[in-house]
C-alpha cells in the first residue's frame, strides 16, 4: 500500500467517524460523552485529595493562638446565628399559620446540598463547571445551583457521580428575573462575553424610568427552571433601548463565577 493511499484511507475513516459521532441521537451522545469522561475520574479524585491535603497542611501551619481566637469568633457568630434561626422559626410558624388562615399554598423552604467544583470548562466559548454531585446524589437536569452570594447556574448534564453546570451567561442558562424594588420583569440570556467580569446584560420587558443602580435583582420564577426569589445580583447601570421603549441594565452578579469552589444544589 502506497503512502498516499494510507493517508487517504485515514482521512476518510476519521471524517466518517466524526460524522457518525456528530449525528448520534442526543441521548446516546450524552451517554457516550459521560462514559468517555469517566477516564478522567481518577484525576478528579486525586485533585480533590491533593486539595484537601494542601488545605490541611495550610491549617497546620497556622499558629495555635490564631486558631483559638478564630474558634472564639466562630462561637460568638454561632450563638448569634442560633438566635436568628430561632427568630426565623417563630416568623415562619407565624407565616404558616397566617397562610393556613388565608388558605394560601404553603411554600416549602429550600433544601440545599453542597457540592465541590472539580473542573472548569476546557474551552473558551462555553461557561460551564463540573461538580462532584451526580445521579447517585440525586442530581437532576435543571436543578438550580447557588452560592451564598446568589445564583450560579443550572445543571445541564448529569453523570453517575458528576454533573455539568451551565453558568449564568452561557447560552444554555437563561434567567427570568425581577427587580425587587420596582417589580420590573426582565431576562438575562447568554452568550455574554462580558460575563468574565461578573457583569450581565439584563433586558427589561418594558421601559422602566424608576430603575436605578443598586436595585436588587432576583429570579422571578417564570420559565419554570429557577424558583422565585433567588438573589441574582444588583443593577450596575441602565440605558434606554429602541427609542425608550425598553430598558437594558447591566447586573453585577452576586456570585463570583471566576472563583467558584463550593456550590449548593437546590433539591
Amino acid at each position: 500500500m502506497s503512502l498516499k493511499r494510507v493517508h487517504f484511507l485515514t482521512l476518510s475513516i476519521t471524517l466518517m467517524l466524526a460524522l457518525l459521532l456528530l449525528n448520534l441521537p442526543a441521548g446516546a451522545s450524552t451517554r457516550l460523552k459521560l462514559g468517555f469522561g469517566g477516564v478522567f475520574l481518577p484525576l478528579f479524585g486525586l485533585g480533590a485529595a491533593a486539595q484537601s491535603f494542601v488545605d490541611r497542611a495550610a491549617w497546620s501551619a497556622v499558629p495555635r493562638r490564631s486558631l483559638i481566637s478564630e474558634i472564639e469568633r466562630l462561637q460568638k457568630d454561632n450563638a448569634q446565628l442560633q438566635f436568628e434561626v430561632a427568630q426565623g422559626n417563630v416568623a415562619r410558624q407565624e407565616r404558616d399559620r397566617l397562610a393556613q388562615d388565608l388558605a394560601w399554598v404553603r411554600k416549602s423552604p429550600w433544601k440545599l446540598k453542597p457540592a465541590r467544583v472539580i473542573g472548569r470548562e476546557p474551552t473558551t466559548w462555553w461557561r460551564t463547571v463540573q461538580i462532584d454531585f451526580g445521579a447517585r446524589d440525586g442530581a437532576r437536569v435543571n436543578q438550580s445551583v447557588l452560592t451564598p452570594g446568589g445564583i450560579v447556574g443550572r445543571i445541564n448534564a448529569v453523570g453517575y457521580d458528576r454533573s455539568q453546570v451551565a453558568l449564568v451567561g452561557d447560552v444554555d442558562c437563561g434567567l427570568a428575573v425581577i427587580v425587587a424594588e420596582t417589580r420590573d420583569n426582565g431576562i438575562i440570556k447568554g452568550p455574554q462575553t462580558s460575563a468574565e467580569y461578573g457583569l450581565m446584560e439584563m433586558s427589561l420587558l418594558q421601559n422602566s424610568p424608576q430603575l436605578m443602580a443598586g436595585h436588587a435583582v432576583v429570579t422571578s420564577g417564570l420559565g419554570g427552571v429557577f424558583p422565585k426569589g433567588i438573589p441574582v445580583g444588583r443593577v450596575a447601570d441602565t440605558r434606554p433601548m429602541e427609542a425608550g421603549l425598553f430598558t437594558t441594565a447591566r447586573v453585577q452578579l452576586g456570585a463570583n463565577l471566576n472563583r467558584l469552589e463550593e456550590v449548593w444544589i437546590l433539591l
Binding site: R120, P191, Q192, R259
Partner: protein, 183 residues
C-alpha cells in the same frame, strides 16, 4: 521500538486534558484555559506515523469534548486535520529548529480552537464569540508556541532514553587495511 515513549505521550495527553479543566488562576489572569494539547499533537505528527497521529488526535479531541459543553465529537475534525496536515508536511519543515517548533505550536494553538468554533457555528450552536475571542486565540497560540519546543526537547529525551539505539558502525574496513611487510 520501545512502548515507553508512546505511552508517555498518551499519559501526557491525559494529564494535559485534565489540566485544561484546572488552574483557575491561569484562567483568571489571562482568560484562557491551560490548553497545551495542540502543541502535543504537533510533536506526535512530526515524529510518529500517520496511524499513531490519527489515534492520538482523535482520542485527545474526544477527551476534551467529554469534559466540555461541546457536542461529543465536534473537536475531532479540527484536531485531526491539524495533525494530518502537520504530518504530511513534515518533510518540508525544519522540525529540529526551535523557531519551527514555536510556529507549529502557535499555528496549532490558534487553528484547533478556531476550527472547533467553525464546527460549532456550522452545527447551529451559539458559542461565545466576540472581540475577546481574538485575544484568547492569540494567547492560546502563544502558550502552545512556547510549550511546543519544550515538548520536542522532553519527548526526544524520552525517546533517546528508552528506544533502542542504532548500532554504531565501526570505522574498520578490511578493504582499506594497509598491508605491511612483503607478500
Amino acid at each position: 521500538m520501545s512502548w515507553v515513549p508512546l505511552t508517555s505521550l498518551f499519559v501526557a495527553a491525559w494529564l494535559a486534558t485534565y489540566a485544561q479543566t484546572q488552574f483557575p488562576m491561569v484562567r483568571l489572569a489571562f482568560g484562557i484555559p491551560f490548553c497545551i494539547l495542540p502543541a502535543l499533537a504537533a510533536y506526535v505528527a512530526m515524529n510518529h506515523s500517520i496511524l499513531i497521529t490519527t489515534v492520538f488526535t482523535v482520542v485527545t479531541a474526544l477527551g476534551v469534548d467529554s469534559l466540555s459543553a461541546n457536542r461529543f465529537g465536534v473537536s475531532v475534525v479540527p484536531f485531526f486535520l491539524f495533525g494530518f496536515i502537520a504530518h504530511i508536511s513534515r518533510h518540508v519543515l525544519l522540525q529540529d529548529q526551535r523557531y519551527t517548533q514555536f510556529w507549529l505550536g502557535f499555528t496549532g494553538g490558534i487553528l484547533v480552537p478556531l476550527g472547533t468554533l467553525a464546527m460549532l457555528f456550522l452545527g447551529q450552536r451559539e458559542p461565545m464569540f466576540g472581540s475577546v475571542t481574538i485575544r484568547q486565540l492569540l494567547l492560546l497560540g502563544l502558550l502552545n508556541g512556547l510549550v511546543c519546543p519544550a515538548f520536542f526537547w522532553l519527548f526526544d529525551r524520552i525517546q533517546q532514553g528508552f528506544d533502542y539505539q542504532p548500532l554504531a558502525v565501526p570505522s574498520f574496513r578490511p578493504d582499506r587495511e594497509i598491508k605491511r611487510g612483503r607478500t
